[in-house]
Symmetry: C2
Subunit: 351 residues, 2 copies
């Protein structure tokens, strides 16, 4: 069972709880976020992270921010909701899911504006809990499709962290693995450490071990070795963004892993909710690649690893062409051999 990354215990006077991910993997601590300032700081400092988890956290942050408002005028209360939403948005201004969830909370308040302030407060808590429940549901449904691809005794390779720590529940890339484990299947996971920020060693390895799943950590450059030995049955990664033709942007290194899997005829799967598809983007060529700070590569925990002044390339992600992807696992089912036709066929089920 994965631990609850973001959770709410009780009613309006209850507790907003998150795992402090900055302490992992050496310490596992659940912290209470009692004030909106504490919630803001937790988002800002990446104590809670991962697109779906941030959406859930944004919802509960709004509740924490407005629950102690003492007035009784619904219009003034809505202004307060707006103020709190704007404030929370400043914590991570580029996190798309954060703003998506804040918009949901604003709309919820609008819809209930004819009601009393306590009733609107309750509606906001219900909405935040709904965001959480929807995320859990997506993870579970995705996991139910993914587990069909996993046999007892399977060896699975994954990259970065698309696990429970990035969502409110089973995660995406790890959803099938957790589902298989819950069903009593024996699974063994190779985890790429995922330079430069080491989400694999710090987060994925931790949450798999925490669930009692056999885990082997490797450096990213060891994946070829492990694949060449026939020790991997399938590869599953997450996705940041998927184009209409199935081309997938994900954490840097995913593309190289897909080429290696293809070379060894090992199935390569991407797991992501349908919200990850951006049909306005026709192919991966249209996805801009964010370059991140050189210091992520040259420094680690205050230790300098490379010469001063060295040129550095630090793309945040790369694009895996759909031809290299065996299937995209979503909560609606698996898109085998993704391309424009198979993607639109599955996404058509949404409507």
């Amino acid at each position: 069972m994965p631990v609850p990354t973001v959770d709410w215990v009780g009613g309006l006077d209850g507790s907003f709880k998150v795992i402090d991910q900055t302490l992992l993997p050496t310490r596992y601590e659940i912290i209470d976020l009692d004030t909106v300032e504490q919630a803001w700081e937790a988002i800002r400092k990446l104590r809670v992270r991962g697109a779906p988890a941030l959406g859930v956290a944004a919802g509960f942050s709004v509740v924490v921010g407005v629950r102690n408002w003492t007035g009784s005028d619904p219009e003034k209360f809505l202004a307060e909701v707006e103020r709190v939403c704007l404030y929370i948005g400043t914590s991570r201004p580029t996190a798309v899911n954060l703003f998506w969830a804040l918009d949901r909370m604003r709309r919820c308040a609008q819809i209930h504006r004819a009601q009393s302030v306590p009733a609107i407060k309750q509606a906001l808590l219900d909405e935040a809990k709904l965001i959480l429940a929807e995320d859990k549901d997506i993870c579970r449904r995705l996991g139910a499709h993914a587990v069909k691809l996993i046999h007892d005794g399977a060896h699975i390779l994954t990259h970065c962290n698309a696990g429970g720590l990035a969502t409110a529940d089973f995660g995406t890339a790890l959803a099938g693995i957790f589902t298989a484990h819950e069903a009593g299947l024996s699974v063994h996971v190779y985890v790429d450490e995922t330079r430069p920020l080491l989400q694999g060693s710090r987060l994925t390895a931790w949450e798999l071990m925490n669930a009692g799943i056999e885990t082997t950590l490797i450096c990213d450059n060891m994946a070829g070795f492990v694949l060449s030995r026939g020790e991997v049955d399938l590869v599953i990664t997450g996705a940041d963004r998927i184009a209409a033709n199935g081309d997938t942007a994900n954490k840097i290194g995913t593309y190289g892993l897909a080429v290696l899997a293809c070379h060894h005829r090992v199935p390569f799967y991407v797991a992501a909710p349908v919200s990850t598809f951006d049909l306005a983007i026709r192919s991966g060529a249209e996805i801009p690649i964010e370059q991140r700070a050189a210091s992520e590569v040259t420094d680690l925990c205050g230790v300098r690893l490379a010469p001063e002044g060295v040129g550095v390339l630090n793309p945040a992600f790369d694009v895996t062409p759909h031809e290299l992807i065996t299937g995209i696992i979503t909560e609606l089912g698996v898109i085998s051999h993704p391309d424009v036709a198979t993607v639109s066929a599955l996404l058509g089920k949404r409507s």
Copy 2:
């Protein structure tokens, strides 16, 4: 011009100098090794490292160890040479080149045993200098063959450190790059950081920058991205051991890089002196893979990167099958499309 990794300045009363590689890349310091204990410590603590450089260092360590011996009996002096050789051998008991060089020094003393002690001391210094000169000569000849593969404006990707810091001069993988740079060609090198020990970021990037060569550092998992952009003209790596059919053992990650280069139709070269071939080994399948300590992957400079108790795989190297190698660059020439026939054809030139 690469810096002198291991050098001797002057006559018998001269100085044995090495770059303290443990201080790189943040500090460049040349240290004098005046006593055999200091030399032993420098080898043990990896202040000097790399197979060819260790051979040279072993020779000078023997000189430093025996030059102040005050007796005049050649037989007793030979016993002292033996004692010093045994002592130096304990610094890194698995370093093949160390023992190869110590044996050369022993034989040299034997050959001159009919001469006076001062004459034998001088012969030992001459022998150590000859090991250095031979290594330089191999690097230069290898570089002269490698440079023919490099055009003006070339972008080259390399992995780990097979540079001047591992040898007494131009290195192996970097020999062609230094030669091209000396010849006035413009070259740009992408350097894999090379987890877990980061020889790429710590050493290769440093020595390329020190020589004034344009250098871009990347994490190992970014090589696929760079190759996919058409930004690499050729890949050159070193080799630890090459089988009779051309299969090549080298630093972990080399194999994955070869697969990626092949996928992008980018030439993949191995550069190594002919002494790296082990014809008793028919193919890479016979090369045992050393597993190193888990802590190299889970810890860095005292910082814990992964959960306690996590399983770790840490193979020191991997084997690249000859089919993926465009050519092996040696001091005798380039073996194109290496296999049993082409390897034996070139190595036949030795005799």
